[in-house]
Symmetry: C2
Subunit: 401 residues, 2 copies
């Protein structure tokens, strides 16, 4: 129970063969990264050329249109070599007419707002964008749901040009995510000054990532990133400086990771070539919601997956087999858990493409139980630090895909 | 829309007459602060003397007992001069018997765990404490709810000695809370090294407070603390360095503040004598849940209120009158909102004791609408920075109590 004094039996500092992410995904990620790092100038150029095209069409007394990617499951696919749920090529063409005029005008005004924000080096949250529209006379939104939909449309429209919503300066309401470990974050504030944030220097606290991480730059000597589901487990690893023992960056996801956290980790994976390991509860929520969302994204927001997914992420644990191997205390699966697991097996293209995951999920359903990551505390509070994680990190090739 | 260039018309840097918190509550807070800063040695002494008393009673072949404060609404009161919902003097005496033996043993083992944790300079979350009990043979817990209840009992038992749960080394699962501004946080890690955390140096990010803030020390030149309900508004004030303009500490509560955030702010209020201003949505949830919990605590956990409440906190806005004065866009109150507001008026001793709050809540119900803090964006994204907050901060005596 005393504070850990001895080094873990096996040093997790250098997980053999895991110095870099697997080659193919890393190379692919690097390519996609180049694509997604649009500059403000490029963002402005794309907004302006879209608007100019509409304007010219109107001046020629023709009816302008906007071709928006179809954001529906029928236009989403999963291919292993891409590594995330990808939006397809289907477009819906919105043509200006009596029926569409309000929505058309709202879309253009929202684009205009984005342009103002980029030019003024500012941002708006979804909520703020909705309220700003209250000054748009004829085309104000009645409900935030409407403005959210238009924002999603614009996001999908410009995602084709490798510009994401944060680059359009529309920020999410919540950021979440605490970070600690050997990572220097460079962040420019609105006076132009660069803050150098040393994530080894927060005592028992941590670095809280901002709503948009596009502007951040990184330096790190870490060997990998460890994503953690619960605040309690993060606090344990942080308070015991596990990031030092294992030379890694710790990230507290606090459940399903926010856009900011996913993008932050994605950029670390791409730019710093860091392997990403995920440590969550062993239940269908941890596997089919948290891990799946992080790695391959969601079907309902497939147009953003190319920016936010971390296809190179691997599942460290807790695995169904860990429940057996570590004799963990369990809780019975609830009906909703069983439904979620069966759904993943039956309908989720990611799990369907991975025989090892199929087997693991079937094992979980068969056992009829789930285990929380803190269940390891049964063997001692710091068993997770002294035994479990070092053993796991010694054999990363055994992680679930 | 452009990034703010000019200083606000009225400087909020020195809200007249608000250099310090109102005298009476500050003095009271300081006294209570002295009480609550139990050292580890004191914590151990209280645990050991309680256990010794039980042990000696058994050796004398008598039946030992524990007198636990009654944690029920009938044992809770509110007095304005105390400033929070306070637990009363009623005790339930748990005597060792055939019926109580398991619970009695669990309570003693949980105290023993706390002692181990203090001595080993470690901690356990509620979840971890539950799993540790799996090794307690005859007295293991079947459900986490049972171990949570025993933990609450122990917390209440030692709160009489001015020792809180975090000092017993039982940490909450979530910490929440992002902080920025002219604040130096000193935090000792488990190697004994002191980290000095400069909260002006996080770029667009922030300092994320740990699960337990008992060990932290502070230095600040700030004039007040501004608590913010939503991540989006916090990001706006943080990105525009409002903490610099107004010389304040910004804290993102992310809804109802966690124990860690409440305690963090309470310590700033007490030790640094900083006024605390709260900026939330104008709806019964923002007022009767977020603000009320922060300021006077909750009746169901009244035994912890003396550590976690911030009785000197004042309500900056958004007030019902702001909806009128600033012509804010609104949403209709839902049934649940109206119920919550009427409940507060009818049953909540805090609101009942405050005529200005009664009037404000009645006004809200009468208007039948609510307004989000981002609704100010209707007048421009940074209207909140350039106009609203400076105007408000110029007249803190007008804040709701």
């Amino acid at each position: 129970m005393a504070a850990r004094k001895k080094a873990p039996k096996k040093s997790p500092a250098a997980p053999a063969g895991k110095r870099r992410a697997p080659k193919a995904p890393a190379a692919r990620a690097a390519r996609s990264e180049k694509r997604v790092q649009a500059t403000d100038a490029e963002t402005l150029r794309h907004i302006e050329s879209t608007a100019s095209r509409v304007h010219e069409t109107i001046r020629k007394e023709r009816r302008p249109d906007l071709a928006l990617p179809v954001r529906a499951l029928r236009n989403v696919s999963y291919a292993e070599d891409v590594g995330y749920l990808e939006i397809g090529r289907q477009r819906k063409v919105r043509t200006l007419s009596v029926n569409t005029v309000k929505n058309f005008a709202q879309t253009l005004r929202m684009m205009s707002l984005s342009r103002e924000l980029v030019r003024g080096d500012d941002f708006a949250t979804k909520r703020e964008a909705y309220y700003i529209s209250k000054n748009w006379d004829e085309c104000k939104f009645d409900e935030q749901m409407e403005s959210d939909t238009v924002m999603d449309d614009i996001e999908a429209l410009f995602s084709v040009n490798a510009i994401n919503r944060e680059q359009l300066r529309f920020y999410p309401e919540e950021h979440g995510g605490s970070v600690s470990g050997p990572l220097l974050v460079m962040d420019r504030d609105n006076t132009g000054r660069i803050a150098r944030i040393d994530c080894t220097n927060f005592g028992s606290g941590a670095y809280s990532v901002p709503s948009s991480v596009e502007e951040l730059a990184f330096e790190t000597t870490a060997k990998f990133v460890l994503l953690i589901e619960t605040g309690g487990m993060f606090q344990r690893l942080q308070s015991h400086r596990f990031w030092e023992t294992a030379n890694c960056i710790l990230v507290d996801m606090g459940g399903v990771p926010t856009r900011a956290v996913r993008r932050f980790v994605r950029r670390l994976a791409d730019e710093q070539r860091l392997p990403v390991f995920v440590f969550v509860d062993c239940d269908p929520y941890g596997i089919a919601n948290i891990y799946r969302t992080l790695k391959v994204g969601s079907g309902s927001a497939a147009h953003v997956n190319k920016f936010f997914c971390v296809p190179s992420a691997r599942f460290l644990g807790v695995t169904p087999q860990d429940i057996v191997d570590y004799e963990l205390p369990t809780h019975p699966l609830k009906d909703v858990d069983v439904k979620r697991a069966k759904d993943a097996l039956k309908n989720d293209p990611f799990f369907q493409s991975q025989p090892r995951w199929r087997k693991a999920l079937e094992q979980l359903v068969h056992m009829g139980v789930r285990a929380e990551q803190q269940a390891l505390a049964m063997w001692g509070l710091n068993y997770v630090i002294d035994e479990y994680l070092p053993r796991k990190l010694a054999e990363p090739e055994k992680f679930l895909p």
